[in-house]
Amino acid sequence: MTATTTKVTLAAVHVGDALPELAYPVTATTIVLGALAARDWRPMHHDYDFAVNRNGTKDIFMNTPNQAAWFERFLTDWSGPTGRLGRMKFRMKGSVFPGDTMVLAGTVEQVETDETGCGWATVLVRLTVDGELMTDCTARIALPTTDDDNPWTRRGDQWRP
């Protein structure tokens, strides 16, 4: 494998572009693996009884850092490894439970080049279950402006996420 793996450059990205959709069947293992990978030992992410009887939710549910990891994976599946996340903001309106099929869909909302010459795409990502919005995420991801550009080389004042 080389760095020439999928590489989206800024010129190829336009407002309104849709990212390839990701549908994933969530199991209890998905939730527990995600929580433990994030070192999140809180019981609502692995203990059904605690989630239902203490938290008042219908089951254990996906934790915040694991949702962030899913969003990152979704975005860089599209951008390739040269895509560099600058900022991510998400709001959880509902929870993701075992048995859900979560669907991540994204649309490019803004394309810009900042004062330093860094190229940015702002992507709105929606995580839905059965068509209902569970989390929306706005991500700002740096993309190469040319075939030779690499956002990962930016440091200090040249990186303005």
Binding site: R54, G56, T64, A69, L85, G86, N150
Partner: protein, 170 residues
Amino acid sequence: MSDLPPEVEKLIDQVQYEEAGEFPVERGYVYTSCSSVENGNPLFWDDAVAHDLTGGPIAPPTMISVWFRPHQWSPGRIEPGVPLKSHFDLKEIFDLPEAVMTDNTIVFHEPVRPGDRLRTRQILRSVSGPKTTKLGTGRFWVIEVEYLNQKDELVGVESYTGFGYRRGEA
């Protein structure tokens, strides 16, 4: 006029809980995290790609909070370790037994690399008045967490909105 108790009022915008991660950033967790979301980004699996693009292996940026979550148990620890202590302090102060996170903003700066020792500090930014949602009645609060590496470089800033609540009052 704020309805916040003085002990909370005085915490707003103050740096709390400056602490170091309990272990250096390591690749085992990187692989486990990538595996948990089936992230095949070669930056995290192929050292040649990591060398070409980032000057060597890095951790996925969204793993930033992983590195400061304490062990559930370690020698001498009496209570289970919890991250984001400011959040648990507020639950206790307001006597709100349950809590969920509703919003999360992360700004990524310097890449995090295996071997890094991260330090964090927490800053309580705001606490709402009483609110009722479908979960119960409680308060929202915003806590910011700053992360620095061993060179004092900023690697990220994370902002959490939590809702502490008591069930059965909705």
